[in-house]
């Protein structure tokens, strides 16, 4: 079992695809704090977050074979699964546990992950850019990215026209992209 701890994410997924329990154990141990943390950020309840996080690892195990490294890195793949399950849990509950602006605040006030594809400066810049966003844009992005609301649903929640909701998301994301060195042409 010692050998699996140093394996790459992709190798662990390959092991999981062949139903290797040791690979799964190493994978769960490597990512459980990140997965549970994201679930907790979204659903706001430790018990619900645990259910979401458990299910995320079960899905990763069952779909390890279909992971395609060309479509993204393993952490992004796993966290997207987690996010989608957390959103499903929220939809069943029918309410947002945390004000979306406060959620965005939690992203900038804590130490970040080490599994990002960005270097430290870029991550720090991304946090600063999130902090600098106008509150209405930060809320719209949180509602979309973390709570899974469509533009139409955001317009209804925020009591604004659909076009305004879409503009807030687009402009907010545009500002965040700028700090990562990608600018609109």
């Amino acid at each position: 079992m010692h050998g699996v701890w140093s394996l790459s994410d992709e190798s662990l997924l390959a092991g999981m695809a062949s139903r290797d329990a040791d690979a799964a154990t190493a994978f769960v141990r490597r990512y459980q704090a990140r997965v549970f943390g994201l679930a907790l950020t979204i659903v706001g309840s430790r018990s619900v977050a645990e259910d979401v996080a458990q299910e995320a690892f079960v899905r990763a195990w069952r779909h390890a074979e279909s992971y395609d490294p060309r479509k993204g890195r393993v952490p992004a793949w796993l966290l997207t699964i987690t996010r989608n399950l957390a959103i499903d849990a929220l939809r069943m509950r029918g309410e947002l546990p945390t004000d979306p602006f406060l959620l965005m605040g939690s992203l900038v006030s804590q130490e970040g992950a080490s599994d990002s594809s960005l270097d430290y400066d870029d991550r720090d810049n991304l946090r600063r850019a999130l902090l600098a966003l106008p509150p209405e844009q930060a809320r719209a992005i949180a509602l979309s990215v973390f709570y899974g609301l469509t533009g139409k649903e955001i317009a209804a929640v925020e009591e604004i026209p659909l076009g305004t909701a879409k503009t807030r998301i687009r402009r907010g994301l545009g500002k965040l992209r700028e700090v990562l060195g990608v600018r609109d042409e």
Partner: protein, 239 residues
């Protein structure tokens, strides 16, 4: 539409597509365009990367003690482990404390969803039994989810509730507030990406208050459930 105008329209949709929340028809339209447009593909890739990065900003948090063991207990029935010959087949997934709690949570949230939809049926004894049976089903069958959506008439009046159960098999169950007009209804499931699946038709008698059908798609893929008479959609539920 000119190429520039089409690109401008698709760029409007890209944030929602990158966040995975675009409506099925919009997503389908964008994907058709993205196949031929390198610039818009690049735009989507960059935006999707940004969304991925935002997810990694969520602070890490150690899960409750025993989390790893509970996850591994759920994976164990499917893992390759050394067991005495002939025993593997006999092993069946048993409800762990966590999965039992998950089932209870799912049942509770399903109940909350029903109440949020204003479902009056909850007040009747017959339907309390039905709700109890849902809890029981989730518990016994290790169901993975139960979702609900209000069933609306074309005029916007609530006709009942559609429940979608994710399990093996997955199924839909509809309770009507009042018996619909008698007759034959064609039922159809439309996925978020626009695929249509014909379901078991609903033959409504004078006292038909419920209908059900198994489904072959993941509950998360459900966009709408439609009931049509003579080719015209008369009731629908949007998930």
């Amino acid at each position: 539409m000119s190429e520039d105008a089409e690109c401008a329209e698709i760029r409007e949709l890209i944030p929602e597509i990158a966040a995975g929340v675009a409506a099925g028809d919009e997503r389908a339209r964008a994907l058709a365009h993205l196949g031929d447009c390198h610039d818009c593909r690049h735009e989507l890739a960059v935006t999707a990367d940004l969304v991925d990065e935002m997810l990694t900003l969520a602070p890490a948090e150690e899960p409750p003690a025993g989390f790893e063991s509970r996850v591994m207990a759920r994976l164990a029935p499917e893992a390759k482990v050394r067991r005495a010959p002939g025993r593997v087949r006999a092993l069946r997934r048993r409800p762990t404390r966590a999965s039992t709690r998950a089932a209870a949570w799912l049942a509770a949230t399903a109940a909350a969803a029903g109440l949020a939809a204003g479902a009056v049926w909850w007040q009747t004894a017959q339907d309390r039994e039905l709700a109890a049976s849902y809890r029981h089903t989730l518990d016994v069958a290790h169901g993975r989810g139960l979702s609900a959506a209000p069933l609306m008439s074309g005029l916007g009046a609530e006709q009942g509730t559609v429940f979608a159960y994710q399990g093996e098999p997955s199924w839909l169950y509809v309770t009507f507030r009042a018996a619909p007009q008698p007759g034959l209804y064609d039922a159809c499931l439309v996925t978020k990406d626009g695929r249509r699946f014909a379901l078991r038709p609903f033959e409504a008698g004078h006292n038909a208050y419920a209908w059900g059908s198994t489904i072959k798609v993941d509950v998360r893929e459900i966009g709408t459930i439609e009931f049509a008479r003579s080719g015209e959609t008369v009731m629908s539920a949007r998930f």
